[in-house]
């Protein structure tokens, strides 16, 4: 069994505690507001009398570091559900949806895009969850044939504030049992107490962004340690949630191969492939603006040290052969453990897909379909993948993954067969 190197502080991750809470007058009576305020007795609470006061707060000169210590409970004025904005037109889109019920993150990862993206520095939670659920219900009901993979970790950590807001207690039961929607709660914390305090369902995938101990200790200042993440994942899996892991960002450094291999091994040492709904790979990428922010906020960070060049859509990323090499190696190590686990690349080009998987998905469509079908298998019971006329021909030894390969035949896409032909698994 591979040992995970742990060079950083082994103490348990500290849960987020704000130094002050601001309450938008529009949400004073919201259940999530009341719940949140009950969790933080003794923390100063400022009840605004008007939204103008809130606007003044946002316009203040509070620094990002100070802003993160202050929590704003407010209302989301528009639609919660949006198509993932991460992919530009030159990247392969996976038809992922995002719901933003919070913005900003206290975990202080040096490479975090939010440092250069958000227009105010505060931790902000949109507490009008009933509006959110009504909106989602309407969308999912209007298009029962569609598949909705919905993530909440785009502008915040999905579980970073969950001990305060308890929003997972609303979302997870809501998604449970739905035929066409899956929720992904993506986190770098071990903040899973609420998840374990309610019945699990297969529509709620709990996922972790994980990285090597070297990167975690150097570039992810306040996240849970790898062991803490694995321990939380183990408890979620035992409780009945499907898991996912995101090897993201992959960072190139002197000992990257040994470290990332150990990381992959450590995932499969701890979890059966059947427990893992999907894995993603994403090499370090960022906008130009972020580069300056990283240099200013984290002058000793080494995250920018690789051979990083400007991509087609102005994002900065590793020179293409380097990315391909990293992805290919990761895929090889993953396939040594599991030939069927769904693996995808986050925000990558068709070229890179072709070089890594020997499969060129369309920019919009193929990858989404492939992921959606995987999702159906995740949320439905065994023998109920919906492909009644397809004989998968696989011996069903464990739940969920039983007829996975048949699904890929049905899709006409089987990139992993190409992997095998190329001797990668």
């Amino acid at each position: 069994m591979c040992q995970v190197r742990e060079t950083y502080n082994q103490s348990r991750m500290k849960q987020y505690q704000p130094e002050r809470i601001y309450v938008d007058p529009a949400v004073t009576d919201e259940p999530v507001t009341q719940y949140t305020l009950r969790q933080v007795p003794g923390i100063p609470v400022v009840y605004f009398q008007s939204r103008e006061q809130l606007a003044e707060l946002y316009a203040s000169d509070t620094t990002l570091t100070e802003g993160k210590k202050q929590l704003v409970l407010t209302r989301h004025p528009g639609k919660f559900l949006k198509g993932c904005q991460g992919c530009t037109s030159s990247r392969v889109h996976c038809n992922y949806f995002t719901v933003t019920y919070a913005t900003n993150c206290h975990l202080e990862c040096t490479y975090c895009i939010l440092q250069a993206y958000l227009n105010n520095p505060f931790m902000r939670v949109y507490v009008n969850v009933t509006d959110l659920l009504e909106e989602l219900d309407a969308v999912f009901s209007q298009n029962p044939q569609g598949i909705y993979r919905v993530g909440t970790g785009e502008l915040s950590d999905s579980l970073g504030l969950d001990h305060l807001t308890g929003i997972s207690r609303w979302l997870i039961p809501f998604f449970g049992g739905r035929k066409n929607a899956v929720l992904e709660l993506k986190t770098k914390t071990d903040n899973v107490a609420n998840l374990l305090d309610m019945p699990a369902n297969r529509n709620s995938v709990i996922s972790w962004s994980i990285n090597t101990a070297t990167i975690s200790s150097r570039e992810e200042w306040k996240t849970a340690t790898l062991e803490e993440k694995f321990e939380a994942a183990r408890r979620c899996a035992d409780h009945g949630y499907p898991l996912a892991f995101h090897f993201d960002p992959l960072v190139r450094y002197d000992n990257w191969e040994a470290d990332y291999r150990a990381l992959v091994d450590s995932v499969f040492d701890r979890f059966d492939p059947e427990q893992i709904a999907w894995l993603s790979l994403g090499a370090l990428r960022f906008h130009k603006e972020l580069r300056d922010v990283i240099r200013w906020r984290f002058p000793r960070s080494e995250i920018l040290n690789g051979e990083i060049v400007r991509g087609t859509d102005s994002k900065y990323q590793y020179f293409k052969p380097i990315r391909v090499e990293m992805y290919a190696r990761m895929l090889e190590w993953i396939r040594q453990h599991s030939s069927s686990t769904t693996v995808y690349l986050c925000m990558e080009s068709q070229d890179v897909y072709r070089n890594v998987f020997n499969w060129t998905p369309s920019l919009r469509g193929d990858l989404g379909k492939y992921m959606d079908q995987g999702v159906l298998l995740t949320i439905r019971a065994p023998h109920d993948c919906g492909l009644q006329n397809v004989d998968c021909g696989m011996k069903i030894s464990k739940q969920i993954r039983g007829c996975h390969c048949a699904n890929r035949k049905y899709l006409g896409v089987n990139p992993w067969a190409e992997d095998r032909r190329r001797g990668r698994s």
Binding site: W296, E307, G311, F319
Partner: protein, 312 residues
């Protein structure tokens, strides 16, 4: 009355720069003081039995130079230091927009005269026409530590705020690098690109700053002025992007072996990120078109083309 008008002895005016915002890149004296005297009164802040200049530093200096004994002045009454520094800024702004050294001085003087950081953000930064954030504050503060000659180039606009901030990290070579930029008349983007690459090469490749500056100086001494920037870029990029540099070298080498006419251009995608090369050539007749196409077909099956295609 906030001000009292009186003739003040020049001996009692201190030239301490507690309130001085103005920074003139050209150190010329004022004209006409000797002929006409001080036409516009200076503004002074009383300090015990003496006075601090608020507005009119150059007038005071010129009057001293002209051997005058007394000059007309408006002496503030009851103004606090906090208000006085604001007055100094507003007076300076009445003569036109500030240069970056003056912006940096404004922040420094406001801070020294009792303005809180939040107040500086709220009231001063709109006057400076800058977006307030901690990064810009740091950048401005860094300017004040630059050598005077570089500060002059910053004030005259030859060195941009962002570049100057980065230059400050290159002590003790700020002056040398700043002079390169000024002498070669490099635009802001070129300055930024060079400094960014220099920072990267020093940090990523563990190259000593002194050694890197020396290498660049050698290139500068050898190359024609118009070629210096490109030569620097090539040197820095080859160190910063070794794999890309190697790909570029292979591309150029193989392309050269095609012996294509100068009119036919094969262009690689930026950083070989996209999966297509571009070919361009002009033609004005069917014969010319056929000629170029035949030439391209000839090279299509060569090992050199195979090598080039492998790069993408």
């Amino acid at each position: 009355m906030l001000f009292h008008f009186q003739d003040i002895s020049l001996e009692s005016i201190l030239l301490d720069e507690d309130f001085r915002i103005s920074f003139h890149p050209e150190q010329r004296g004022l004209q006409g003081v000797r002929e006409f005297g001080i036409v516009q009164p200076v503004i002074l802040f009383p300090q015990k039995a003496e006075f601090l200049a608020v507005c009119g530093f150059r007038r005071v200096q010129a009057a001293k130079g002209a051997g005058m004994m007394r000059i007309p002045a408006l002496v503030s009454r009851g103004l606090e230091r906090k208000q006085t520094v604001l007055l100094s800024l507003l007076e300076r702004l009445s003569h036109g927009p500030l240069n970056n050294m003056e912006r940096a001085r404004s922040v420094e003087k406001f801070s020294q005269n009792g303005w809180l950081k939040q107040e500086i953000g709220r009231y001063l930064f709109p006057l400076l026409e800058l977006k307030f954030n901690a990064m810009v504050l740091d950048q401005l503060a860094a300017l004040l530590g630059l050598p005077p000659e570089v500060q002059t180039d910053v004030a005259s606009g030859e060195i941009h705020l962002y570049t100057a901030h980065r230059l400050a990290q290159w002590a003790p070579y700020e002056l040398q690098i700043g002079r390169w930029f000024s002498d070669l008349k490099l635009g802001v983007n070129k300055q930024r690109e060079l400094l960014g690459l220099m920072d990267d090469v020093a940090r990523v490749c563990n190259v000593e700053k002194a050694s890197l500056v020396q290498d660049l100086e050698e290139i500068r001494s050898r190359a024609e002025p118009v070629q210096v920037y490109d030569a620097w870029l090539q040197t820095l990029k080859s160190r910063r992007y070794p794999r890309f540099n190697e790909a570029q070298r292979q591309f150029e080498e193989n392309k050269a072996r095609f012996h294509l006419p100068g009119q036919i251009q094969i262009i690689s995608p930026p950083f070989f990120e996209e999966s297509r090369y571009k070919v361009s050539f002009p033609f004005g007749s069917r014969e010319e078109l056929e000629l170029h196409c035949r030439k391209l077909l000839e090279i299509a099956e060569t090992p050199e083309m195979e090598a080039i295609l492998r790069l993408i």
